[in-house]
């Protein structure tokens, strides 16, 4: 009996060890990718912030009736741009994004522009209308692809396919924490605290026309930076998940070793007792 349990424990140790090797390798891969991903994220940030600031200023001086981008329509259909991962094993990274979409959507019908293979799979499974099914990789997403998507999204918005455009992505805050963000892209909200700065900016040809021209560029840049942000989050989430998995595996192994040694010791003791008992008689 003791022999068979010892063998079982030995097998367990072996299997946990090989799992640990995999998680450790994945952790190393994530760590090495992280630096580049973070760099890309940092580089993509200025465009998004600067263009956002400029656009918000233009919006505050713009009459909503002149541009479809500010006009609030009754929301009959929403469009979500959902950015999640290509693969799993990244803790709650993918699940958190999908949960946020479900919570935000409520009962309003919606369609999705998915980025990342997991996102495509998930919404296909839910039978949600997908606008594009070709974006498997978030990692290598190019700037030009983002601009193409932005134009496509704006066209759909103009045609009235959807009345609100919402971006759902994960933002990288630190190595340890990533947060899901929901951001309404269209229509643009007029900022509430209007800054009275005395100097009025001159817009050529006009704030509304400026908005029309610049909107696709802004949106493209926004999508790109959100994708970079999400990818950095995914990588660090995976690194953390794999880090704790490796640690857990290590703990499990030392636990099993202890059990194994106890079983071995038990078997020896038993044998000795048996021999001693036999000699006495």
């Amino acid at each position: 009996m003791a022999g068979s349990s010892m063998k079982a424990i030995k097998l367990r140790i072996k299997s946990v060890e090989s799992t640990m090797q995999i998680t450790k390798a994945m952790q190393l891969v994530a760590t090495s990718k992280l630096r580049r991903a973070k760099e890309r994220m940092e580089n993509s940030k200025p465009f998004a912030t600067v263009s956002r600031e400029t656009l918000t200023e233009a919006v505050s001086q713009c009459d909503p009736q002149f541009t479809p981008f500010m006009e609030k329509r009754e929301v009959k259909n929403r469009c979500y741009v959902v950015i999640a991962g290509e693969r799993g094993l990244a803790g709650g990274y993918n699940a958190n994004v999908f949960k946020a979409v479900a919570a935000h959507a409520g009962d309003t019908p919606y369609c999705v522009l998915p980025m990342g293979k997991k996102t495509i799979d998930k919404f296909q499974h839910l039978h949600v209308k997908l606008l594009d099914e070709s974006l498997f990789h978030v990692e290598g997403l190019g700037v030009s692809t983002c601009f193409r998507l932005a134009n496509q999204l704006i066209e759909g918005y103009r045609k009235g396919d959807y009345d609100e455009l919402v971006l759902v992505y994960t933002t990288f805050q630190s190595m340890m924490s990533q947060e899901v963000r929901i951001e309404q892209l269209l229509p643009i909200e007029k900022p509430e605290n209007e800054t009275e700065c005395g100097v009025v900016t001159i817009y050529e040809p006009s704030p509304a026309e400026m908005l029309e021209t610049v909107m696709p560029d802004y949106l493209g840049g926004r999508l790109y930076s959100a994708a970079c942000d999400s990818f950095a989050s995914e990588i660090s989430a995976r690194r953390n998940a794999m880090d704790s998995a490796t640690k857990n595996a290590g703990e499990m192994i030392s636990d099993l070793r202890l059990k194994f040694n106890r079983a071995r010791q038990g078997a020896i003791t038993q044998e000795i007792t048996e021999i001693v008992a036999g000699a006495e008689h």
Binding site: V50, V143, V200, T201, I202
Partner: protein, 133 residues
Amino acid sequence: MATYHLQIVTPDRMVYDGEAEKIILRTVNGDVCILPHHIDYAVPLAIGEAKVTDGQGNTRLAACNNGMLSVHGNEVRVVAVTFEWADDIDLERARRAEESAKEMLDKLQREDVDFNVAEARLKRALTRIQVKG
């Protein structure tokens, strides 16, 4: 000479962040030149040549494509879709892009959706070649 703070950003990086004396850009309404103490101003950009004179008086050429220009106080920001200094332009690639854009245009009619796309591509290629040459 007086200078102002100029930032040039594209989606993938910050191209320039520093002092400048002067910038000339192609906007949707034609070329504009921004000097220090310009009034607050914002305008969408077109495809064309950009000329930047930095704080030391050195002038550099670049190919700039779409986006916008905003002047706020003494802060000037160029938010461009692409912005390439003359040194960074790949002439071979620009020539190839010109050829393929011309081929596309030959096949298309003015009413086609892709006509504008091809035209913009040709414009970008020609601007790059001009800036480099």
